[in-house]
């Protein structure tokens, strides 16, 4: 039991470690969560793929125009276009209202100024010009090594490792800042949208079909309540059966009702009990906390 308690505490501490205080001028802490490295990487892959796609389409268009006009001005337009696309894709999108490239939007993350101020254009420029270095230096190192046969393999390896420590800088700090974030004074944080779901078990018929005693309700805390909410919202019959059985065995009730009737009633009454506790200044985080 204590093992489970420490494991839960550890998991919660890890999640709390990702939360950064961010107080608005109105005095409300928005509690920003730092985006994980995997989300960042995913966003980068999506963006690079999109850039490549646009470039390929652009090339087809340019090739067609080139054949049609027979002029090499198309070539220089293509070169300029490729440069502009590569450099300004990230810049343009991050300067927009949502401060996120399409890849970042897909992953539900965005760029934020670390000091809580507004994200300025120069910060966005700085963080994205450094990206050039982070992305292309390792490639250049490998390319150079391949081009020059007289360079020893170890030298290439050392170069690649050195440049990779720059590129993977974000893995080595708590705030998941890459080199560019560090220089520009920015963070990348979670900005997922959450739909406004209707409250569950509002009606008396749904939430009051069964009555639970205070002793039966006092076995769980907020963490368990919100896990129960998640199960109820996904409405997966098997998960609901498992959860219902776990609760029944814990409070010593026989299997007498439908799972959803049982769970909805228990959810509503547990929620009311815990929310009442909140009003009296008592926040019971999980079942291990004292009641």
């Amino acid at each position: 039991m204590t093992d489970a308690a420490t494991a839960l505490a550890k998991r919660r501490a890890a999640q709390a470690g990702k939360v950064r205080q961010f107080v608005t001028p109105e005095g409300v802490d928005l509690e920003l969560r730092i985006a994980s490295a995997s989300l960042r990487f995913g966003a980068l892959i999506v963006d690079l793929t999109l850039i490549a796609l646009v470039l390929i389409l652009f090339s087809f268009g340019a090739a067609y125009a080139g054949f049609a006009s027979g002029s090499d001005i198309v070539l220089s337009i293509w070169m300029l276009g490729a440069f502009v696309l590569r450099t300004f894709w990230f810049l343009g999108f991050e300067l927009g209202a949502r401060a996120a490239t399409p890849g970042k939007r897909l992953m539900g993350i965005r760029v934020v100024a670390r000091d809580g101020g507004r994200l300025t254009a120069d910060a966005v420029v700085a963080r994205n010009l450094i990206r050039e270095l982070e992305l292309f230096l390792p490639m250049m190192m490998i390319g150079n090594g391949a081009a020059e046969d007289n360079v020893a393999g170890w030298t290439i390896l050392a170069g690649v490792i050195w440049s990779l420590t720059l590129s993977l800088f974000l893995l080595f700090n708590r705030d998941r800042m890459r080199m560019g974030d560090l220089i520009a004074g920015t963070w990348v944080v979670m900005a997922q949208r959450a739909k406004l779901d209707s409250e569950i078990a509002t009606s008396e018929a749904e939430g009051g079909a069964m009555r639970f005693s205070d002793a039966e309700l006092s076995v769980y805390g907020i963490y368990e309540l919100q896990e129960l909410e998640r199960v109820l919202r996904t409405r997966d019959a098997r998960a609901m059966r498992e959860v219902a059985d776990a609760i029944r065995s814990k409070i010593g009730r026989p299997v007498a009702e439908e799972d959803d009737v049982f769970l909805l009633s228990y959810y509503r009454q547990l929620k009311e009990r815990l929310e009442r506790g909140l009003l009296f200044g008592k926040r019971r985080e999980d079942k291990y906390a004292s009641d």
Binding site: I73, A97, D122, G185
Partner: protein, 341 residues
């Protein structure tokens, strides 16, 4: 049942709280969606007035919900909505056009002026590189092959004939045939030079050392070339060939190096603020300089690709080069009224 009574007894219930406030959240959400999609100009004046009111109402709802509600879906929605609202309400203060105007009129020259010390250092480093290689190549031409790789030299080395060297400057018979591909050449130069400048800026955070090396190398290359052409009596012509775009390009190179150096020194000597904060502060100044550098390189690329190939008169080339450097100096360093503020 007494237990049942006490459940319903409190005058405050999260359900009623939600019923009262939900309309505000929905309205705020719709307003934000419109703002994100179409910008502030799409909002009517009524909607604009509503925006801060709804924003504050949502933030207050978030505070109350955090203290009283345990509905995770509701809390998540309010948090996401408040965050979106915060960044939109406090984020956009002026239109893109106004931002661009301010950048060109004030921010860009101000940022360049702010790195004047670094610019002088980098300029001296380039000059040092040029003097080093020039004196070495002038005393012993064999040095040239150590400085300039064959593929970059393109036959412009100490063994080349005067006629050949002259032709590379655009006075010979070869110049005519190359004219058709000018814009390709200009574009190539621009993208290549921008890449080099971005590197020399981005490498700055390693305490500026790689930046100094890159800039020194640029100087070396310049000095070696200069020595070869001078030894064949083409020094003045080569100067013109270089001067027409070189003033802009070398200035841009010096500025990109200065931007990198600024970050490097901020990391090394953060002064009164923390290292991270100093780096962020320097990074923003350097970022502005870099936008300017890319614009300058575009101009240099045009001058190099078109101007240099089309204008072959050496005096004219010197004239344009001088005009450009005078323009840049005036633009950057003449004090402006807004500076005082």
């Amino acid at each position: 049942m007494p237990a049942q009574r006490s459940v319903d007894a409190p005058g405050f219930s999260t359900r009623r709280f939600r019923e009262e406030r939900e309309a505000d959240w929905v309205a705020f959400d719709a307003l934000l969606a419109k703002l994100e999609k179409k910008g502030a100009t799409a909002l009517t004046s009524d909607e604009l007035l509503q925006l801060p009111i709804l924003y504050r109402a949502t933030l207050s709802s978030l505070s109350i919900a955090r203290a009283t509600s345990l509905d995770k879906a509701l809390l998540d929605h309010l948090e996401a909505l408040s965050m979106r609202g915060y960044f939109l309400v406090y984020g956009v203060r002026e239109s893109r056009a106004a931002r661009l105007r301010r950048f060109i009129l004030y921010d860009w020259p101000a940022a360049v002026r702010a790195v004047w010390k670094e610019t002088i250092v980098i300029a001296l480093v380039i000059l040092l590189g040029a003097i080093t290689s020039w004196s070495l190549v002038a005393s012993n031409p064999e040095w040239y092959y150590n400085f300039v790789p064959d593929e970059m030299a393109g036959g412009r080395d100490p063994r080349a004939s005067v006629e050949y060297l002259r032709s590379t400057l655009g006075h010979g018979p070869d110049a005519e045939s190359e004219r058709s591909g000018l814009h390709v050449f200009a574009t190539f130069l621009f993208t290549h030079n921008s890449g080099v400048s971005i590197m020399s800026f981005a490498l700055g955070f390693a305490f500026g050392v790689p930046t100094l090396m890159l800039e020194y190398y640029q100087g070396i290359w310049l000095g070696a070339m200069l020595a070869v052409f001078t030894s064949k009596g083409l020094g003045v012509d080569f100067g013109g060939w270089l001067f027409i775009h070189g003033t802009t390009e070398l200035f841009a190179a010096a500025l990109s190096g200065a931007a990198g150096l600024r970050i490097g020194t901020a990391v090394l000597f953060p002064g009164a603020c923390g290292r991270l904060q100093a780096a962020a502060h320097a990074g923003r100044t350097a970022g502005k300089v870099m936008v300017g550098v890319i614009a300058m390189l575009l101009v240099a690329g045009l001058l190099e690709g078109f101007g240099r190939q089309l204008i072959t008169d050496t005096a004219m080339r010197y004239g344009i080069g001088t005009l450009m450097i005078a323009f840049w100096f005036g633009y950057y360093y003449i004090p402006r009224r807004e500076d005082a503020a």
